[in-house]
Structures are given as structure tokens and as C-alpha cells.
Symmetry: C2
Subunit: 123 residues, 2 copies
């Protein structure tokens, strides 16, 4: 442990990047990554056969379309998409989210496509 | 999946309980539990040899004493206590936190004592 550990301030980390749909790792615990992302518009339908995915909205509003409906999340609301369930995140306004997934989870799951990108880090 | 899934609203869930140091499970993902707790005063020094522990402060201020210092978290700040590292949470004012740990993690780790209690759920 360092002598003076510092917390991860989510607002400060969000201010460090502007690119949309790009996941930025801010912490690790066990085999998982805590990531931030800014979303606007419509993502792609995809699933993660091997893991659940946790979304916590920090600012804005996120709709997660699901096979049998959709769930709408405002700031301070979280939702867990079960493994193997197709979902499509949509944000009408720019929305900041915290995500938790196992390290190495691909953002577009099994769908692939042009929005696929590895999780980045913040300098 | 239910037809109309609903998100977990953290403020609404926090309003449902008042007992201190009692972890309330609000969601599960994979083998982990997402829990809320209200803290005030000083907990016990303990560690979790088998898992990291994530603290995200939602309201108030939490100090986590560590062997070589301490870290102070305000609302919107998170910190991961590495597995096996002794720590003692302290809150001068009532503080609300979100915790993530593997299901079955004991709140007092290897220390035990009168503050040991299983994670509860909210009706």
C-alpha cells in the first residue's frame, strides 16, 4: 500500500475525457474492472454470454433496450444486465455511467462492429 | 427477464432502512453482491484475505484507516481495499456507502466481534 492512498473521484475522472462509447478504467478489484463511459446516441444490440454487466448512471439518463422491454435509468440508479441477455444502450442526452465487468470484457460483446474498442485508461 | 424491469434507485433504497453498519443487498451480479450501508462511528480493524472490497461513498464522508495511513472519501469517490489489507472504516457523520463484495463475505472479515452480521435484504 502507498503511504497516502487517494480515492477515485468520479467527477474528476469524467472531466478528463470526452470521447463517447469509450470505456475508461479507473479501478480494479479482484478480476473486475471499474470503468467510466460517456454515452450519447444508440449503441449496438449485443450480449455477453460469460458475464453479467452492471450499469450505474452518474449523470444524464440511459435507456437499456431489452428483448422484452426496456429499463430507464437516471442518476443514482443501477441495473444489472444478466449474462446472455441481448441489450442495446441508448442515451438521448450525453450520459455518464459507471460500468463493472470482468477484465477483458469486450464492449460490444458477441456483436462486434465499428464501435468495438478495448477499455482505455486515463492519464 | 420480467417484462418491465426496474432499476435500483439508490436514494430510494437508502430511505428504507436506518440501522447502522448493516449491509443491505440491492443487486447481484455474477457471484458478487451490491450492498448499501449506513455508517457512523468507528468499525473494527479487519481484513478479507480472499477478496478486494470496493467502497463508493454516496453521501457523507468515510475515512478508511489503513496500516500505513488513511484515505478519506467524500460523495462520488471510491476506493478499493486490497485483499488481505487490514482496514478500519470510520465516519464522523452518518455516511451512506455502496459496497461490492463476493456473496457471503463477512462484514468483519477475520476479526469477528459484536458488529458481525450477515448482509440483509430490503423488503
Amino acid at each position: 500500500m502507498p503511504d497516502s492512498p487517494v480515492p477515485v473521484n468520479l467527477a474528476e475522472r469524467l472531466a478528463r475525457f470526452a470521447d463517447l462509447w469509450a470505456q475508461k478504467k479507473v479501478a480494479e478489484f479482484n478480476d473486475y474492472e471499474i470503468k467510466l463511459a460517456k454515452l450519447k446516441g444508440e449503441f449496438v444490440w449485443h450480449d455477453h454470454p460469460e458475464t453479467d454487466e452492471l450499469f450505474l448512471v452518474l449523470d444524464g439518463r440511459l435507456t437499456i433496450r431489452l428483448p422484452d422491454g426496456e429499463v430507464s435509468l437516471g442518476a443514482g440508479e443501477l441495473f444489472v444486465v444478466p449474462r446472455g441477455v441481448q441489450h442495446c444502450p441508448v442515451a438521448d442526452e450525453e450520459t455518464a455511467v459507471l460500468l463493472i465487468e470482468p477484465a477483458g470484457t469486450v464492449n460490444t460483446g458477441t456483436a462486434g462492429g465499428p464501435l468495438t474498442r478495448p477499455a482505455g485508461t486515463l492519464d
